[in-house]
Symmetry: C2
C-alpha cells in the first residue's frame, strides 16, 4: 500500500467474531506481488443473503451472476479476487467465475449458486483460471484468519484496511454486525471498485434482509462520491448466519428488526465514510448537507452536483471559501431552486443568504473551518422540506498523480 | 494573461469588417489591473438579434434580462464587463445592469431594452456602479478598435484571444460572419463563463436568426465541456445588421439561408473548439465520437459521460490507452448500451470489439496516437444509428494548480 491517507482512522477497529463466519486468505498471485489476494469466507448452512450492485450497464460477470444469485436468498461462501476485475472479458470471464463457484461448491457440498464471487483490479484481462484454481484450493484449506487480514486482502490501491462493527438486541439475544469494504474512488491505475461485505449472526429472512440492505445503502454507500465515476463491479453483500439464536426476523414489525437495521445502517455508513477517507489524493473529508429542497430526491441530486463539481472540490483543496462555486453547482443540478432564496454555509458560518452575501461577512471563522481535515458545506434552498447529506473528498494534485502520472 | 495554451492557434485570425458593427474598448478598472475591461459594440439601426443562455438556474441579472430582451428581436448595442460577473448580487446587481442600459440608450437615442449587457469575473460582488458609469462614458466616445482588441478585452483568465470568421452568398450579395468568444472552462479563480458574440451584415428576420443560432449551438457551444461545471452567466448572442443589402431572409426556404446558416455554424464550431483549446490546464484536445447509439440524444449523453469522466481525462493526460475507463464511462451514462456489442477505438485503432479486447491487440500505434496534441476517442454501441461528437480537454496538474493553489 502507498502511504496511509491523512484521513484514515488511527487503527483498524476491533471487530467481533460472527458465529457462522470463517475467514481465510490465500495467494493466487493474480499480479506479481508479495501478498494474499484471494479471500474465502465460509458461511454456515442456513445463511441468508442480500445484495446491491452497480448500476453501470457494462458490469462484470460477477455482478451479472450475483444479481441473479441473491434472488435465491441463500449464501454458503464468498470468494473475492484482488488484482483482476475480470470485467469486459466476455464469455471467458464468465467461465472463470463459474469455475470458482463449482470448485467451492464441490468442497462444501452446496449448490454452485450459493457461492458468491467478486473481483477487483485490472480490466479487460480474463481472470486466469489456473491461478484462480490454485488460489481457491489453497484458501479452502488455509487456517482461519482475522478480520483485518481479510480486509487487507480484498484491497487493491486502498491505503488502509477498512472495517466496522455494531451490535443490536433482538428479544433476549444480542446479535453482532461486522463489515469490511475496499475502495478509494473508482480507483486507478485500474478501473476499480467498491466492494463491501457485511455479516451478522442474526437470523433474518432473505426478503427482510434485502429490504434492510437496500434501505441502508441509500444514505450510506449510495451517498458517497469520489470522482463521479461508477465502477463496473461495485457490490455490497449482506450475509446473516442465523447462529445468534434469535427468533428469526421476518418483517419490519418483528421485535428487534429496527435495532438490527440501525446496526446495519451504522456499519454501512461507517464503511462508506472510510471509502471517502481513502479517496484518491484526498486531503479533506467533505460533508455536504442540502436542506429546504422540493423533496429528498431533489436534495440528493443537488448535494451530488455540489459533491461532484471539480470547481467545488478544488476550492476545498485550496482552503478557499469560494461559495460562488457552490451556488453554481446548485444551479446546474437541474432541480428546483430559486437564486434569491438560496443560503450557503461553511461549517456553521453562513456566507450567503437570500441570494446575497450576508451583511458584514467575516471570512476569518470560515477560513479557520476550511483549514481542518473535515469540511462541512450547507446549502438551504428555501423551497420545501427536502433534505439529503452526501460525503466526498477534495480534488488534489494527488488525484492527478495517481490517475495520470502512470502508464498502465 | 498567463502563458499561452499549447493548443492555441498560431495567431489571432484576420476577421473582416462587418458593416454596421463598430467596436470600442475602455478601462472601467473593475479590478486593479492595467488593461481595458469594458467592451462596447455599437450596432446600426435595424440590427436584429438572437441569443442562447445558460441553463443554470442561479443565473445572473444580465442573463435574466437578456433572455427577455432577445424576444424583442432588436439590438443596438452590447456592453461586456470583464472582471466582475455581477452574479448572485440580487437587486443591486440588477440596478447596475439597468444603469448601463439606460446610459447607452440615452447616448444612442434607443430603447434601453435594445442594449445588451454581459459580465464575467468574480461573483457575489455587485458591479460597482461608479466604475461602470465612468467606463461606459469613456467607451462611448473612444476610437473604434480592432476585433483582436475587443476579443482581448472580454477575456478574464483566458490564455489567448479567440475569433473566427466565414462568409456566405445570399442571392448576389456576399455576407460576412465574424465572432469572438471568451472562456477557458468555467474558469477559476472566479466562477466564470463562456461569452460568445457573432455578428453578420446579412439582413435576417429575428425569428429566423434565433432559429439559426439555436440550431448552430447544439453541435458547437453545447457540445463542449471542460470540467462539467455550468456557469451562471453563459451567453451567446448573434447580431445581424442588415447592411449587406441582401433581400432580407425570412425563412429557411429563402435563397441563401442555408449558406448563411453554414457560415454561422462554422464560426460557432471554430469558436467552441477554441474554448476547449484554452481549457484550464489543457495539454490535449480530445474529440469523442459516439456511434451506434439508440438515437442522437442518447449518443450525446454517452459522449458527454466520457468527456466528463475524470478517469478518462486523466488517462489521456497520462497518454495511457486505458480503454477500460471509456467502457466504464459508457456504462455509467444511464443510456441504452450492451457490453457485448461495445467497440472502442483511439484514433483509427480499434482496441476492443464486441465486449472483448481485439485479437492480437497492438498498443504501439495507439500509444503513438496518444502522444499527439489531438486525441480522438471512438465508441460504437452497436445498437442503432444515433451519433454525436463532443470535444473536451484532458485533466492535468495545471487544472488543480489553477483552481486549488489559489486563495480567492
Amino acid at each position: 500500500m502507498t502511504s496511509r491517507s491523512p484521513l484514515a482512522p488511527a487503527a483498524f477497529p476491533a471487530l467481533p467474531d460472527i458465529a457462522g463466519v470463517t475467514l481465510r486468505v490465500a495467494r493466487a498471485q493474480y499480479k506479481n506481488w508479495d501478498r494474499c489476494d484471494l479471500t474465502y469466507v465460509e458461511l454456515s448452512p442456513g445463511t441468508t443473503v442480500a445484495g446491491v450492485f452497480t448500476r453501470n450497464i457494462c458490469c462484470s460477470s460477477e455482478v451479472e451472476l450475483g444479481r441473479e444469485q441473491v434472488k435465491g436468498g441463500i449464501g454458503r461462501a464468498l470468494i473475492v479476487n484482488a488484482g483482476n476485475s475480470n470485467a469486459f472479458t466476455g464469455y471467458r470471464g464468465r467461465e472463470a467465475v463459474e469455475q470458482i463457484m463449482g470448485q467451492v461448491a464441490d468442497h462444501l457440498g452446496c449448490a454452485a449458486t450459493d457461492v458468491f464471487v467478486s473481483s477487483t483490479g485490472v480490466i479487460g484481462v480474463p481472470l486466469p483460471r489456473d491461478k484462480a484454481r490454485a488460489g481457491v484450493e489453497a484458501a479452502l484449506i488455509a487456517e482461519p484468519c482475522t478480520w483485518e487480514a481479510a480486509a487487507e486482502t480484498i484491497c487493491t490501491t486502498d491505503t488502509f484496511a477498512k472495517g466496522s462493527a455494531a451490535s443490536a438486541v433482538i428479544g433476549e439475544r444480542t446479535v453482532q454486525v461486522a463489515g469490511i469494504v475496499k475502495g478509494s474512488g473508482m480507483i486507478a491505475p485500474d478501473m476499480a471498485t467498491m466492494l463491501g461485505y457485511i455479516f451478522t449472526d442474526a437470523a433474518v429472512a432473505p426478503s427482510l434482509l434485502q429490504a434492510m440492505l437496500s434501505e441502508a445503502t441509500g444514505p450510506s454507500f449510495n451517498s458517497i462520491t469520489v470522482d463521479s465515476d461508477t465502477s463496473t463491479s461495485d457490490t455490497v453483500l449482506l450475509f446473516a448466519t442465523g447462529q445468534a439464536g434469535n427468533a428469526p426476523l421476518e418483517s419490519w414489525d418483528d421485535t428487534g428488526a429496527d435495532a438490527l437495521y440501525a446496526a446495519i445502517r451504522q456499519v454501512s455508513l461507517d464503511l462508506a465514510h472510510q471509502v471517502v477517507r481513502d479517496g484518491e489524493g484526498a486531503s479533506k473529508f467533505i460533508e455536504i448537507e442540502v436542506s429546504g429542497a422540493a423533496d429528498d430526491h431533489s436534495a440528493k441530486r443537488v448535494a451530488l452536483a455540489i459533491a461532484n463539481s471539480p470547481l467545488v472540490k478544488t476550492a476545498i483543496a485550496g482552503e478557499d471559501a469560494n461559495w460562488g462555486r457552490v451556488v453554481m453547482a446548485v444551479g446546474k443540478a437541474g432541480e428546483p431552486a430559486d437564486r434569491d432564496r438560496l443560503a450557503i454555509r461553511f461549517g456553521d458560518h453562513w456566507v450567503a443568504k437570500q441570494g446575497l452575501p450576508v451583511d458584514g461577512y467575516d471570512e476569518a471563522p470560515v477560513a479557520a473551518h476550511l483549514k481542518g481535515l473535515e469540511v462541512r458545506i450547507g446549502a438551504d434552498l428555501g423551497l420545501g422540506d427536502g433534505r439529503a447529506t452526501v460525503w466526498t473528498c477534495d480534488l488534489t494534485h494527488g488525484y492527478i498523480s495517481i490517475n495520470a502520472d502512470y502508464r498502465s
